[in-house]
Amino acid sequence: MALLVIVVVTALVFDFTNGFHDTGNAMAPSIATRALKPKQAVLLCAILNMVGAFLSLTVAATIAKGIVDAAVVTLLVVLAGLAGGIIWNLITWLLKMPSSSSHALVGGIVGAVLAAAGADGVIWSGLVSKVMLPALLAPAIAILVASIGTAIVTRITGSVAQKHNEKSFRWGQIGSASLMALAHGTNDAQKTMGIILLALIAGGAVAPDAGVPVWVVVSCALAMALGTYMGGWRVIRTLGKGLVRLDSRQGMSADMSSASVILLSSHFGYSLSTTHVATGSILGTGVGRKGATVQWSVARKMFVAWLVTVPAAAAVGGLCYGIGRVVSDQSSQTAGGLVVFAILAATSAFIYVLSRRQPVSANTVNDEWDPTSEGESILAESVTMHNPRLMRVPKPPRRRKKKPIHVPKKAKKRSKTQQAKKAAKKTSAAKSSGSKKKSTSKKSSGAKKKSSSKKTAGSKSKKKSKSR
């Protein structure tokens, strides 16, 4: 019973990470093009995710079906698989990489099954054809669809005033993004419900032919909505700012392409990962628009992350299962479950602490991706957005971040010596003319001149580094 509770809680935690990891799939373009304010966007997405979870009651109890041998799946296997999925989700979130939550879950379960039953427990052809290959095909299709869409849209609206375009397409964008959020809610919340239902059946808490209890539906919907509302700002930033500079026409094309490809793929029974499709669509809008640049180096890192997702999550899942298995005794696996849960909690806390080192929040999610071209692009953006406010002095945290990168070592040394001189000057000033500070600074004795001229040079170099 205790193990069952742990599994249910862990499944809800996975649902939570799924929510905040995948907010960006639906909302990153809207946030990047400022169609919605970041907080508004995640709120809308959270609400729609929750509605989506209630909308359809066809439970996707088929997670990992056709990929692992159902006979070897025990509660501990599911728990270890969930732990693998959560930890990999958190790691990719830390690295700001969008990656498929469902693939992480499948990977975790595959790893746990490998550890539990060996290579025979995994249906390898199913793994390749249902998980690995679609990860390559989904972005290809999405890139094609979105690039065609963007090319047509930019051609048709080329004669329309920029301002009018921006305004109109924002509405289209909000509509299509909402559809994405809804589809995501139905899809992914149902997966977790399926897992919890399986666990309940395996634990004997409900009859094998029972439907999903209401509390499971409610708690899954809430966990996912809460996760979504937390906002996976790190991932949103990469999707919205890191790949392509989006305008609202591209944003709408991207959202529409993602929504249609995802809904069509589930209609034709060849499910493609939401994350892969959404990323591909954003890339496609860069390919399809003349003059737009795609940061393929960021995209390449993403593709690698997708291919690594299953093996990496499998490694974590397998490890968790191994540890849990060793700890638990013959009769019950509760102790193992507790240990796995403790490991999961500790790892999550550690990753959270690491993420605080370079936090991304609702306020900084739209900051420029490439700081070297910052001044120029802010100017360009403020012109295109007709918003001179964008040109205002950047917030203090940015400046602090940039200093260690741009201040050359020499300047630092100089500033140190300058500080020493300052101190010397202070003491000498104090000695020479006790109380009249103003007069001492205006008087020009030789040594002071030197130090003051150095001081201006130092401050100049500082200013330079700031303006860069």
């Binding site: 989506g52 909308l55 359809s56 009651l57 066809t58 996707a60 052809s125 390749v128 054809s129 290959l133 095909l137 299709i141 094609l144 669809v145 979105a146 065609i148 869409g149 963007t150 047509i152 849209v153 048709i156 609206t157 004669s159 329309v160 005033a161 009018h164 375009n165 109109s168 397409f169 289209g172 509509g175 299509s176 559809l179 809804l182 589809a183 139905t186 899809n187 149902q190 026409r249 709408m252 094309s253 529409m256 392409s257 993602s258 929504a259 249609s260 490809v261 809904l263 069509l264 793929s265 589930s266 209609h267 034709f268 029974g269 060849y270 493609l272």
Partner: protein, 76 residues
Amino acid sequence: MSGFIEWGALLNILIFGVLIGAGLPAMYALGVRSLDASSRVTGGAATVRKIGAYACFGVIVLAILGALAFIVAGGH
């Protein structure tokens, strides 16, 4: 290789994806353009263009409603 990839489904997704996923934004763009154009001319031409624009938006609303129905029906 053919056993690993469901070419039929993939081809369907691709064809309908291009039709819908690229077609709907194109429709929207047409709507925006004719709405914009309608503000520059007066009289009957403006009305025709406005009607055209709202027809375009109507198609998109229908498509979104269709997608909603699809989601509710459990087709996901």
